[in-house]
Amino acid sequence: MRTKEKFTDFVEQKIMPLVSVVSSNKILLAIRDGLILSMPVMIVGSIAIVIGDFPVPAVQAFLASVFGENWNWWNWDVINPATMGLVAIFTTCGVAYSYAKSHEVEPLPAGILAIVAYFLLLVQMDGGGFSLDSFGSQGLFMAIISGLLSSAIYIWLIKKNLVIKMPDSVPISISRSFTAMVPMGVVVVLFVIIRAVFAMTPYGSANDFILNVLQLPLLGVGTSFLGTEITAGFFNTFFWIFGIHGTLIVQSVMQPIWDAAKYANLAAYQSGLQIPYIVTTEYLDHFVFLTGSGLTLPLCIMCAFRAKSQQLKSLGKLALVPSIFNVNEPIIYGLPIVMNPIMAIPFFITPMLSIAISYLAMAWNIVGRPTGVAVPFTTPAPFGGFLITGDIKVGILQILILLLAALIYWPFFKIWDKKCCEEENA
């Protein structure tokens, strides 16, 4: 018990402040919130893809026979470019908006300013006009960077009071519309200069520079097998053991990478090319955080139906439905898994094993890879796996992995159940 207390002290005094600093960082929060802002649009766009490009050929053939060959005309050419195809625009606007909001300045002009800044950096195609590609995954990191930079300038100038002041007799709504003019001018000039500087480099544009120097290398490392085992496998679990929301912390750093991989996959899927990445936001939700971090649904079922301890039995029943929908805090705090050295062992092993199995199955093309379709993290298995990849085998793989998780948890569950029984009878 004393070592446990020492350990708790260590967490409270050393780890907690560190986590607090990282997770309360305004830049990281702005990126996270900015990416979240576009989620509803992405999910609606994804529903259109799932229906319009239904993963079962027989269903597609049936729909085509009823509504005609061109029945899904609204999908790839209409809804997709207006929703998922504009993710970089939503992101730059959302990040700038969130960043300005956290500094308590009027956020909407910052969002608009970010879109202006983003377009200033885009290089037109040879015949004029912008390539649709530059609004999607390829522009995601530039969207984040230009959103933050333009918003930071806007915030700084507003706070320095470098704005056009109107006499008091002018109504607030009118004077407010002038407030953003000076920051707007400064941002336009600065971004034109940035554009000109990058035009002189071998990359030709800011977008190509960021894509090749930052985005692609980070994606390569972040979505690699080892990178995934360390971030989503090890660190996510590590924080949860201490009762800290590991997923939220790991996401605050990794989300841009996992999202960029998702949208890159979507672009490849749309063009009928080989899907480049395995590890995307959806992959993690449906293989690593499947039924919640630690894949605890089997453990929850054991508690509900196999436990001799009354406490575990009622916990299992309480946690069963949330667990099916990938929410498992009741198990993590109720069992508890937090600060529990016995349950920590399977809680560590299971997600890392799930990554190993699913990653290899996808790398060797035994099952399909995530197509980039956005599916809410609460979608239960096997539907989640099926929808994110369009491959029914992936849904089956989810079930197999959960069965394996059951085997891993079983002996530890027996130990813990016995211990809880002894405490109840004491």
Binding site: R32, I36, N328, P336
Partner: protein, 104 residues
């Protein structure tokens, strides 16, 4: 009326606790509104609530949340691991009212 907000990552896990708290509030006939929110809604909701309850999994946000709530006189509290694990709606609601100096 007492307005209570429960905050966690997505407002999902605290919604289990929310149900238990609502049951107890009804049993006691309390005039209150209780809702679960995602942590990202914190800045918007802080001025409108009397009590903000923080899920233990995001207790590292406590300082930031206190900073957002204090100017509006909104009270904050981190739900303990044990109460959260047991989804003890009765105890959490009693403590939330306790923050306002009301005994139930």
């Amino acid at each position: 009326m007492v307005k209570i907000g429960l905050f966690c990552f997505a407002g999902m896990s605290t919604s289990v606790l929310l149900k238990k708290m609502l049951e107890y509030a009804e049993e006691k006939g309390l005039d209150c509104s209780i809702n679960a929110y995602a942590e990202t809604k914190m800045a918007d909701m802080a001025p409108q609530l009397d009590v903000v309850l923080i899920g233990p999994q995001i207790k590292y946000y406590q300082k930031r949340i206190e900073g957002l709530c204090a100017p509006h006189g909104t009270r904050t509290m981190v739900i303990s691991n044990v109460d959260f694990g047991r989804m003890d709606g009765k105890k959490v609601l009693t403590e939330a009212y306790g923050l306002l100096g009301i005994q139930i």
